[in-house]
């Protein structure tokens, strides 16, 4: 890969790490309590005291954007983590066992994928009720087929590789060949996909919260914040919805740039 490509990947890494640092340090760097209201200071435009302005109840937008990073990254990580483990296990099983198990698992995945992603998440979230764990679960379930497919294709190509036969030939039991030899060779595309998917998970979480099916108001979550500010945009108070929107954009772009470049970085042939 070129130096330019490296620069782009580094930018993505910097953006992602920046948000992670914000999320980790939220209690110490947020200038106000994200839940504190102050009717006397409601709907103030950005100023030195409130760099991102204040909302309808006088809450500080900057503090809420910082706390929002914590919640949104956590939701994304949780959803992608669950989807990866569940999808990865199903896909590896389908690819390795083949036959009827393969058919059964993959047709199940087809059913999940037959629904538009967001609609499915919406349905699951609506059925479970608005809360953080339910939101994580809804997003995770819609992403399971992606990892199942990816893992299955990886296992299918790797299991017939000469080194896999060589591993069997020196007396390794099946499970050991799968876990010690095949799985480490499948990691890199899965990790890339997970990074890219984290961006989408944030978008989905914000989207569901925006329409009231995700995290309840007034939690400091980017989607909720946009929802709370959207009526004010026409009145000229743009900052309430704008800054959380900016944060979502930064997170999605950062994770996508990082994911694009990760493929090359993870290849041992490039070291």
């Amino acid at each position: 890969m070129t130096r330019k490509g490296d620069a782009v990947t580094l930018t993505g890494l910097a953006m992602t790490l920046g948000l992670v640092v914000l999320a980790l340090l939220a209690p110490w760097i947020a200038p106000y309590d994200p839940y504190a209201t102050d009717p006397a200071r409601a709907l103030r435009p950005p100023s030195a005291a409130h760099p991102f302005g204040t909302g309808v109840f006088g809450e500080d937008i900057l503090a809420r954007v910082i706390w929002g990073a914590r919640l949104d990254l956590l939701i994304a990580a949780g959803a992608v983590g669950i989807a990866l483990v569940l999808g990865g296990a199903l896909g590896a099983g389908a690819g390795f066992l083949g036959g009827w198990s393969d058919e059964g698992i993959m047709r199940g995945m087809d059913v999940l994928q037959a629904f538009p992603n967001f609609i499915l998440a919406l349905g699951i979230a609506a059925a479970l009720g608005p809360s953080v764990p339910n939101l994580v679960l809804a997003i995770a379930l819609t992403n399971v087929p992606i990892y199942a497919r990816l893992m299955r294709s990886q296992v299918l190509t790797q299991r017939t590789a000469p080194y896999a036969l060589a591993a069997v030939g020196v007396g390794n039991p099946t499970a050991r060949v799968l876990f010690v030899h095949l799985l480490p060779n499948t990691w890199s595309p899965i990790l890339v996909q997970a990074t890219l998917q984290s961006g989408w998970a944030i978008l989905q979480a914000a989207g569901l919260s925006f329409i009231g099916l995700g995290v309840p108001v007034p939690t400091p979550e980017w989607g909720v914040m946009i929802g709370m500010g959207v009526q004010q945009v026409t009145a000229g108070q743009w900052w309430i919805a704008f800054f959380p929107g900016l944060a979502i954009m930064a997170a999605v772009i950062g994770l996508n740039l990082l994911g694009d470049g990760l493929q090359d970085w993870l290849d041992p042939r490039r070291k």
């Binding site: 000469p162 060589a166 069997v168 030939g169 020196v170 007396g171 480490p184 060779n185």
Partner: protein
């Protein structure tokens, strides 16, 4: 003669090929004595690799063993349980393959791969595993041990990868090494180095070897005994010197004549035709359609393998030079 280390008798393998089954190996007999190097030669598709895979029970569906026995160190391998055959693989019989780089795990360094084998087979870890890994590298004459152990397969040349494969095979201290076209993908000078290495391993460790190859030069260089395969059966086996000096089976003669030689015109038509499709085996002797001296008998009945001189087996009605009257 000492009792053989490996004794294959009447090994028969079929591949399910609906509507019927294709017989890929027909009654293969093969012996390897302790510390003996045996060559298994023949054209592509005659069943050399299938023989090796079947011995270790590594055949994948639709292939399966339908008859015969494989005795190794007085144990019958064809009826062992899956757990028992796993202990034979690696510890008893180790196998190396044609594509050395692809046979190594691409995401682990050579050192890590050796460590996995040593931990599993000998329970060695840490400094003792490291010492044993360096010893193995020295055994296969991999020069700069520290660099090699830290290297990924793609950073090494083909010859070095094959040495690393041999080191991995030796880590389990096998009694028999099966090398399936192990030198084919390497250039000639490296081929020779690997062959010399294998010979030294035989001398120093008493490592018996079965070298599967279509390269008669390799056989002449490395083997004490040779078995020639055609269409899934052993058509001739003999001590290497005798076989090269006086081949008896017409196929062996043609195979030797087909070798390119400097100064001689290329023998393009040395063996007309190609190895028969296992689903459409000729009647009688499977070689008769390509044999320059086929007689009506060859078309009608299948010759048995006969020992016409000590250690010399041939499967032909009209072997040459005819050793006295023969049925």
């Amino acid at each position: 003669m000492t009792e053989p280390l490996l004794s294959v008798r009447g090994l028969t393998v079929e591949f399910d090929a609906p509507p019927g089954a294709a017989r890929v190996l027909t009654g293969v007999d093969l012996d390897v004595a302790p510390a003996e190097v045996v060559g298994l030669v023949g054209e592509s598709g005659c069943g050399k690799s299938v023989t090796a895979l079947a011995m270790l029970r590594l055949l994948r569906a639709p292939g399966r063993i339908t008859g015969g026995s494989v005795r190794f160190q007085r144990r019958e391998l064809t009826t062992l349980s899956e757990a028992e055959i796993r202990r034979v693989r690696g510890r008893g019989i180790a196998m190396i393959f044609q594509a050395p780089r692809e046979s190594l795990n691409p995401v682990l360094t050579i050192g890590q791969q050796l460590a996995l084998v040593l931990a599993r087979h000998d329970g060695l870890r840490g400094r003792r595993a490291r010492a044993r890994a360096e010893e193995l590298c020295a055994m296969v004459e991999l020069g700069d041990t520290r660099r090699i152990l830290g290297a990924y397969p793609h950073e090494l040349s083909g010859g070095m990868c094959q040495r690393a494969m041999i080191a991995l095979a030796l880590a389990c201290r096998p009694a028999l090494l099966v090398a399936d076209e192990a030198t084919t993908a390497l250039d000639v000078t490296v081929q020779l180095q690997i062959l010399l290495l294998l010979r030294r391993l035989r001398d120093s460790l008493g490592l018996a070897q079965l070298l599967i190859t279509h390269n008669l030069g390799v056989v002449a260089e490395a083997c004490q005994r040779v078995a020639v395969m055609y269409a899934g059966e052993i058509v001739e086996s003999a001590p290497a010197e005798q076989l090269f000096a006086a081949p008896w089976h017409p196929y062996t003669r043609r195979l030797l004549a087909a070798r390119p030689r400097i100064g001689a015109p290329p023998a393009g038509d040395a063996i007309p035709g190609s190895v028969p499709d296992p689903r459409r085996r000729p009647t009688g002797c499977p070689f008769h359609p390509r044999c320059y001296q086929a007689q009506p008998t060859c078309r009608e009945s299948h010759p048995a393998s006969e020992e016409l001189a000590p250690g010399r087996h041939v499967r032909c009605f009209y072997p040459e030079p005819a050793p006295g009257p023969h049925r």
